[in-house]
């Protein structure tokens, strides 16, 4: 019996190892990336609001405009060849390029643009506010978005907004233009094809969706003869690999070309590995400390100002975050219109103690800090806890998973909270509306912005935020945001901490992978691979 079992075991192992050395480098025309795709839940541009989804649809679809990280006041035209503004800034006219085609072969026309933008408002999914903030709703949108002819379309807003704001909003993923005939062919019960488009593509981008097996992989194939040039890659494969250590091993072994979710330690280790290059690019995501103004102690101005001097910004960024973030003390990320670089605060316990004494808290105080228990946020929290103690503030860290801490935060039941925020589109209003704007501080307020969550209402700051939204002169607008950032930086419930950086590693054969500050600014079109010598 023993012999029979051993023979069976040997047969099983033999069969299993039959194809064992399956080292398999992808050909030069195929890019294989390992990425944690647990946030990839939909591919419908009207619904996508997650990092992975934003990246994928940016390569499947085109929009009227694309944000310009170099000159944020001048977004690039993509499907829009030209635009004009009428009716004292309320009406925008767009001319659509004649050379663009969908993957189905149909030319992109004004009807497609109108259908796509109206569809967003009618579906009213999470990111729809990016368009509805201009006064578009289900009742008005069909009138406000008008097809003039096959190549011209008009968009009428409820009032005049800063043109840069409107164009930047139209560069967001939600404004992706879909092939209306293809989508309409898949409509069910008036769903605007949403059920189908969550798992398919109907765009004019340089890639089309070949297959998506959730939890396993997603494959994009290049569109040959795309007007912007045929991509160097024929195929891009995203493998859903959630464990960074596994990504690293796969990269070292050559089974993947890029690893997208590596930690600073792994990046450091790979920097000296032959055949592998490490890359780093700024991200628009910011980390901040929120101070709930419903807490009587945190509501004192002296305390808010004192806490700013009890954080060692540079030490945390350099020693703990290891290049994955940089110190940043204003609410606009570097490169955004109007962003300033003021960084007046550093660790100074004496200054903090003096301010606390002014606030009547000579002996400091005890406080809790709700913290998402991810390694990076916990590191930041522990470092802040240590330096706060130098000022006499005894912080108790309350860890929780992201859903738990977020639930508490949105209900204004936190005290201190380490949050992160990424703009929804590359315009300063996206962040100003979050950090500075809170027109109604009541519990039943309609707009529950970050300022609302932290119970902060400042009439002057609200007024400046509203004024900046309608400034047509980009220079004046940039100056207004500069003033807003200084105001929030000096005394508000927000202590801005760091700006994130995107780190990844790739085989040396990978060229020209461009990662912009927003997740939807990762274009596979430019990437190429050198054949192995």
């Amino acid at each position: 019996m023993m012999r029979a079992w051993l023979v069976t075991l040997l047969v099983v192992v033999q069969v299993a190892l039959w194809d064992a050395p399956a080292h398999a480098e992808a050909p030069p025309s195929v890019l294989v990336m390992a990425k944690a795709l647990d946030d990839l839940i939909t591919l419908d541009p009207a619904e996508v609001f997650e990092f992975s989804g934003a990246e994928v649809i940016a390569n499947l679809y085109e929009r009227l405009f694309a944000a310009n990280p170099v000159d944020p006041a001048r977004p690039h035209g993509v499907l829009a060849e030209a635009y004009g503004i009428e009716d004292e800034g309320r009406r925008f006219i767009f001319r659509i390029r004649a050379d663009r085609r969908f993957a189905s072969g149909r030319p992109v026309d004004a009807e497609d643009v109108a259908y796509s933008l109206r569809r967003v408002v009618h579906l009213n999914k999470t990111p729809a506010f990016i368009l509805t903030q201009f006064g578009l709703d289900t009742e008005t949108v069909d009138d406000r978005i008008q097809v003039i002819d096959a190549r011209h379309i008009s968009l009428t807003l409820d009032r005049a907004y800063a043109p840069t704001l409107v164009l930047n909003a139209l560069s967001a993923g939600i404004a992706s233009i879909v092939d209306r005939e293809t989508v309409q062919a898949h409509e069910r019960d008036g769903d605007y094809g949403h059920g189908w488009l969550r798992r398919a593509s109907a765009g004019s981008g340089a890639f089309r969706l070949e297959r998506w097996n959730p939890g396993e992989h997603l494959i994009l194939n290049a569109v040959a003869d795309h007007p912007t040039g045929t991509p160097a890659l024929e195929r891009v494969i995203l493998l859903d690999v959630r464990e960074p250590a596994t990504q690293r091993l796969m990269l070292e072994r050559g089974d993947i070309d890029m690893a997208r979710n590596l930690g600073p330690d792994q990046i450091r280790a790979l920097a000296s590995t032959e055949g592998i290059s490490v890359w780093s690019a700024p991200s628009a995501r910011l980390f901040y400390l929120g101070l709930n103004q419903k807490n009587e102690i945190l509501a004192r101005s002296g305390v808010r100002r004192a806490l700013r001097w009890l954080i060692d910004y540079d030490a945390i960024a350099d020693a703990l975050l290891g290049g994955s973030a940089e110190a940043r003390q204003v609410f606009l990320p570097e490169g955004m219109l109007g962003a300033i670089d003021d960084a007046p605060f550093y660790l100074d316990p004496l200054m903090a103690r003096a301010l606390l004494a002014e606030a009547g808290l000579v002996d400091g105080f005890d406080i809790t800090m709700e913290t998402h228990a991810s390694p990076r946020v916990m590191q930041i929290a522990q470092a802040i806890q240590a330096t706060m103690a130098e000022g006499g503030i005894r912080v108790e860290i309350v860890p929780g998973d992201s859903a738990q801490t977020l639930t508490k935060y949105r209900a204004r039941r936190h005290t201190l909270y380490i949050g992160s925020w990424g703009p929804d589109y590359l315009d300063p209003h996206s962040n100003a509306a979050a950090f500075a704007y809170n027109p109604d501080n009541g519990d039943g307020a309609r707009d529950k912005t970050l300022a609302w969550r932290n119970g902060w209402y400042d009439e002057a700051v609200n007024a400046l935020t509203e004024a900046a939204v309608v400034m047509s002169d980009p220079v004046a607008r940039a100056a207004a945001y500069g003033e807003l950032q200084q105001s929030v930086q000096a005394d508000s419930p927000f202590i801005l901490l760091f700006q994130d950086r995107t780190l990844f590693a790739a085989r040396d054969s990978v060229r020209d992978f461009i990662s912009g500050p927003m997740p939807d600014q990762i274009a596979y079109r430019s990437v190429s691979k050198q054949a192995a010598p």
């Binding site: 064992a20 839940i41 997650e50 959730p214 939890g215 992989h217 089974d255």
Partner: protein
């Protein structure tokens, strides 16, 4: 007594094998079936109820978990309504139960697909992994346990104790990483993470979801070989864990059997030691082992979350965990139901096998 006297395969002390002598009750097999079915339904109902309550009392807002940090109130309200969370708890549970009866486990709030479809996608990957791991655990664990029992307190027993202890106490996550580091990245003996190489993605049309079966049906032997190559390392890691447990239990059951009188009688009768150990002692030890094996297999089918994560294995464990972290209660309840059915079914099979293997329990 002649030397050729045969020893029956299962000899037990008289007091244990004495059958109940109380009357001649009429057998009613249907009563047993109904009773088992009742236990089955009540167990699942209890499991679902507890899962549902836990899902509602944890301090997580499932709407926020789905629509994220930056959604406005209108989107929040719409999502809440779409998820049915505006209804009373009891109504929500009743709606879910009605769905279960009609085979509708609802829509996953995270993936947006029917939960049943999600489970049909993820469960086959777990079954493939768990079955091979179980096979490895069995083929190694049972002989190892027997050898340890027959060499009690000698070198083989000590070796097994150490090997089992490592397998039992080392985190499978860590074991998985080490296995990948050594056999995949270092020695290059094993295929990498995932179910298959990128070259073979989409080559075989999915029929059953079981990659091995689909590849065999399609006659794609290279795909089959590649899928097996990807399967072997995670299965070995999980199999090691199972082996450790099964070996320890086998050893314990075998020591108990080898100390019985019938073994002494068999030895006195001149039966060969191999026959005594492998046929008679193991035959009797196999009875309690059935339960151990069924529970171990059930545990593996539940999905080994960490192993699945390390090996990028798209199984039920990873699906359940992701759903739980996102407070996606339809998915959590659906996956829990499947896990529950699996466990209860395996238990029932074990009970039935128990009765076949041990006539006293009939």
């Amino acid at each position: 007594m002649s030397e050729t006297t045969a020893v029956p395969p299962v000899l037990e002390p008289l007091q244990e094998s004495t059958a109940p002598s109380s009357g001649r009750r009429k057998r009613r097999p249907w009563r047993g079936i109904v009773s088992r079915l009742g236990v089955f339904v009540v167990t699942l109902l209890g499991l679902l109820m507890v899962t549902f309550i836990i899902g509602r009392v944890i301090p997580v807002d499932p709407v926020l978990a789905v629509i994220g940090d930056q959604a406005n109130d209108a989107a929040y309200a719409a999502a809440r309504e779409a998820m049915g969370l505006d209804k009373p708890l009891i109504t929500q549970f009743w709606i879910f139960l009605k769905g279960v009866v009609t085979g509708d486990l609802g829509i996953s709030a995270v993936t947006g697909r029917p939960v049943l479809q999600d489970i049909a996608r993820y469960f086959p990957a777990t079954i493939e992994l768990a079955t091979l791991a179980m096979l490895i655990g069995l083929l190694l664990g049972v002989p190892a346990g027997v050898i340890a029992a027959t060499h009690r307190d000698k070198a083989p027993d000590h070796i097994l104790r150490v090997v089992s202890l490592i397998g039992y106490s080392a985190p499978t996550f860590w074991l998985g990483m080490i296995a990948l580091l050594v056999f995949y990245a270092g020695l290059g003996w094993s295929a990498g993470p995932g179910r298959i190489d990128v070259h073979y993605l989409g080559v075989v049309p999915p029929l059953t979801g079981f990659l091995l079966i689909d590849a065999a049906f399609a006659g794609a032997w290279d795909v089959l070989g590649n899928a097996l190559a990807h399967l072997v390392l995670p299965a070995l890691v999980l199999g090691y864990f199972s082996m450790a447990y099964i070996a320890r239990m086998t050893r314990s059951f075998m020591i108990d059997q080898l100390s019985r009188d019938y073994i002494l009688a068999a030895r006195a009768n001149g039966m060969s030691e191999r026959r005594i150990v492998w046929r008679h002692a193991l035959g009797n030890a196999a009875v309690p082992l059935i339960t151990v094996i069924a529970l171990t297999y059930g545990g593996l089918l539940e999905g080994a979350v960490l192993t699945e994560t390390v090996f990028a294995w798209p199984g039920l464990g990873a699906y359940l965990t992701n759903s739980l972290l996102n407070a996606d209660m339809n998915a959590v309840l659906g996956a829990t139901l499947v896990v529950g059915i699996t466990f209860v079914t395996l238990n029932m099979i074990a009970d039935s096998l128990y009765k076949i293997a041990d006539p006293r329990t009939r």
